[in-house]
């Protein structure tokens, strides 16, 4: 029995898919295990390993289908994803180019059946071709609750022992990704200030001397917009950091 999740902000669109799944039940036994009206709700609802296929609408409020797919792909047991869209010339072109599965609305039973019969997990390279700008949110899970932190709001990311925390104006959030992964994903938007801290370039307000180090070299601290904390820059990183923030 295939476990399906429906994600679409339009209730009739979800009804339609549910009806069609019933119609093709003989050829493809499936059951709808979860539904959500947008990407954020979907991420809050989904439990890793409980969904085989996600039928994901592209245009949704809050978090759209492409962004949701980036998050789904990072789950420990990622579900296969089939996008659904009513009409979007550019999206369809992109789907064809990156060889992802999609269905055009109004969806037909035969097409749905064919898509379900050949489902496969989304290839990471297809995803990065579809959404080159990467995620707009970081996912934080604390005590079973999912919280999505907009990447734009992050001032710095700090690794402490086993965890990475994202600091925003509103507070700190535990993030599941490693600092190296984050550095790779968000490239030039964040830079390394020292071994265990990535700082958002856009948040830098200036720098100041923070007293001298034992060897007699100056120690530099970054002033950041949105928080009173100062972030020290390691001696090794300082020339690069200075070049970055002076331009």
């Amino acid at each position: 029995m295939m476990r399906v999740m429906l994600i679409d902000d339009e209730i009739p669109a979800r009804n339609r898919l549910r009806h069609l799944l019933g119609d093709i039940a003989d050829q493809m036994p499936a059951m709808v295990v979860a539904e959500a009206g947008d990407g954020i709700a979907a991420l809050e609802t989904i439990r890793a390993g409980t969904v085989d296929v996600a039928l994901v609408d592209i245009r949704m409020p809050g978090m759209d289908g492409l962004q949701l797919a980036l998050h789904l792909a990072r789950l420990p047991v990622p579900p296969a994803v089939i996008f659904t869209t009513a009409y979007d010339q550019y999206a369809v072109q992109a789907f064809e180019l990156s060889a992802v599965d999609y269905l055009l609305k109004p969806v037909r039973a035969e097409r749905l059946l064919a898509a379900l019969q050949k489902v496969r997990p989304l290839a990471p390279e297809s995803l990065s071709a579809l959404v080159p700008e990467g995620r707009r949110h970081l996912r934080s899970t604390e005590r079973g609750r999912t919280h999505l932190v907009p990447v734009d709001a992050v001032i710095y990311l700090k690794a402490e022992q086993k965890y990475v925390t994202a600091r925003t104006e509103k507070g700190e959030y535990l993030i599941e990704d490693s600092l190296t992964q984050l550095e790779e994903e968000f490239g030039p938007r964040f830079f390394r200030a020292h071994r265990n801290c990535l700082v958002a370039l856009a948040a830098v307000a200036g720098y100041e001397r923070g007293g001298d180090e034992p060897e007699g070299d100056a120690k530099w601290l970054l002033r950041l917009r949105g928080c009173t904390e100062r972030i020290p820059v390691s001696r090794r990183q300082w020339p690069q950091v200075k070049a970055l923030i002076s331009t």
């Binding site: 339009e10 009739p12 979800r14 009804n15 009513a86 009409y87």
Partner: protein
């Protein structure tokens, strides 16, 4: 079928001459300036008589050129205008069409009556698309069409679609170009309601100011909009049709202020002639 002369009469032609005068003036000045620059060089070289002859000739040439240009613009009416209007009004909006069909299909089994009503409303909307694009239509009909369109959108989007109408001050017999309001509303739903998690109502405000009809549509606006291109196309489309109907006497502008997007159309108030 209305006789040809009658349908052409529907173009309120009066403001055209102003547009023409402006065009003439601009073209004349440009050519004349270019010629006078040459005159300056000639007089510097001391050849006064040829210079005077030259400037007279230049003025005449500039006037002929400008006149010819304006004349050519005029050659486009009304047959060219009709073709342009046809092309501008009959543009099918696939996003709305396919989404609505999908919503109807998703409603048929659970609520056949609602699905029936929706199909009837779609038929009305598409009938409106087939209307003669050159004929002004009663504003009240256009408002009724907007309400049908909104009913359809509510089938898909539910309570997210809210509109605050403020149209009490309108004369009952006002006439407007066809299918101008509904595309605006469709824009507002697409940009101001669909992408927002907590949508606010769309404001639809129409008043009469002097001899002008003022139509204002406001919707909440998120800065991270990716579909600006579609919006500009829709506005350019309406702008072009306003120009064909009213010349310079009507205008459309759009602004973003405090998280809200407002489109304002000002056009001469036409009354139904009975």
């Amino acid at each position: 079928m209305a006789p040809e002369s009658e349908s052409i009469r529907q173009f309120p032609g009066r403001p055209r001459w102003r547009a023409d005068l402006l065009r003439f003036g601009v073209v004349f000045l440009v050519i004349e300036t270019a010629m006078l620059a040459t005159f300056g060089l000639l007089s510097l070289s001391g050849l006064v008589l040829p210079a005077v002859v030259w400037v007279l000739l230049a003025s005449a040439l500039a006037a002929v050129a400008a006149l010819g240009w304006v004349w050519r613009q005029h050659g486009e009416t009304p047959a060219m205008d009709e073709a342009r209007l046809m092309a501008l009004t009959s543009r099918i909006r696939p996003h709305f069409l396919y989404n609505s069909l999908n919503a109807v299909l998703g409603t048929i089994r659970s609520d056949p009556r609602a699905a029936e009503t929706a199909l009837e409303e779609m038929a009305e909307l598409f009938r409106a698309l087939m209307h003669d694009p050159r004929q002004l239509v009663p504003l009240s009909d256009e408002i009724a069409l907007c309400r049908k369109y909104l009913d359809l959108e509510r089938l898909r989007l539910g309570d997210r679609v809210q509109v605050q109408w403020s149209i009490d001050q309108l004369p009952p017999d006002a006439m407007v170009p066809p299918l101008m309001l509904q595309p605006l509303l469709e824009n507002a739903v697409y940009h101001g309601i669909e992408p927002l998690q907590q949508p606010e109502p769309i404001g639809f405000h129409m008043t009469v100011s002097g001899r002008m009809l003022v139509i204002e549509l406001t919707n909440p606006h998120e800065s991270s909009q990716m579909h600006a291109r579609g919006n500009r196309m829709a506005l350019a489309n309406i702008r072009e049709r306003l120009e064909i109907f009213y010349g310079l006497a009507a205008y459309l502008n759009a602004e973003i202020k405090a998280g809200h997007y407002t489109v304002r159309i000002v056009l001469p108030l036409e009354r139904q002639t009975s």
